[in-house]
């Protein structure tokens, strides 16, 4: 996989920056949730951080031949507050990716016939839809001062598909076999 068009390459770099920053802030917000005695929400942050790592890894590898130093502009959410507020930041970030960023990046990759980027953006878009929903579920509990009630969380290392409790036989986004998933046990 590689990329030939400058606009798609720019979007891959921007998405790489955004996924890297998201990975990092979810690890920080996991620490906060754990300190607030919400270990399951902490674990959700860690599992989804791993999914963002898979997205960043995909984008970076499509860019493998674009060797060099770049200044990259990326959207990123900031702030360290209570978990209920950090979850609002997480929801905002995921919804921006789902409603604005990845649909435009995906459309561009299709328009420029960039197959590697199209796959990487498609995987991320589908996974972020699930992340937005899971963070909303987490926030609904946190608003009541409660932790989430979830078992093992599983993440597909190929596409970042994230699912709790019941692992499908194969990944509904990328088709990977179930034994490839990384698990985050309770």
């Amino acid at each position: 996989m590689t990329v030939n068009n400058a606009m798609t390459a720019d979007f891959l770099r921007s998405a790489y920056g955004g996924e890297s920053a998201a990975h990092m802030r979810y690890l920080i917000w996991a620490d906060v949730a754990e300190a607030e005695k919400m270990p399951n929400i902490g674990r959700l942050f860690r599992a989804i951080a791993y999914a963002e790592y898979a997205h960043a890894d995909n984008h970076f590898r499509v860019l493998k031949d674009q060797v060099g130093d770049y200044t990259v502009a990326s959207g990123a959410v900031f702030g360290v507050g209570k978990t209920v507020d950090n979850l609002q930041g997480a929801i905002n970030g995921e919804l921006h990716e789902v409603e604005q960023m990845y649909p435009v990046y995906l459309e561009t990759a299709r328009y420029q016939n960039e197959k590697g980027a199209e796959k990487a953006f498609h995987y991320a878009l589908e996974a972020e839809k699930i992340h937005a929903k899971m963070f909303q579920d987490a926030q609904n509990m946190a608003k009541q001062g409660k932790d989430m009630d979830i078992g093992t969380i599983y993440v597909c290392p190929i596409c970042g598909h994230t699912v709790a409790d019941h692992l499908p036989d194969q990944c509904p986004i990328c088709g990977a076999k179930k034994d490839l998933y990384k698990d985050f046990p309770a």
Copy 2:
């Protein structure tokens, strides 16, 4: 710790983006080194990725009250090649931080009397000097087609100080006690 001045806050966000991206590409380049049967160089990438996480964490927490969505411009190195080439990318990135980026950010934090940012930038600057040297040592071996010959690598989770083989009684950068270090054993 917090921040009051817009320029220092911008530099903290930019440094957070750069550290997050560095963390991520070192994990990817670790995979490449391991696939090339250079497990010690792979382990060096993983240890230094952890140090970059510490830097990102410090910058993000100084910004804790700057809640919201930002577009962040950060320097980042791209490319996936052979380990000897990936190490050149790593050296370039670290030297840019050591010679250009962090000295200017640190000078700005001092000029604007931003104590939290000053500490975060100082920690990163001192650790990056060591990273540049370690990556150069790694590349000298990789150029001969050899892996590094190093034992356990230790990283201070407070400041990112990175050292191989012999752990000091306390961190020479931040003063943390030796039992706080995270180890990456051979």
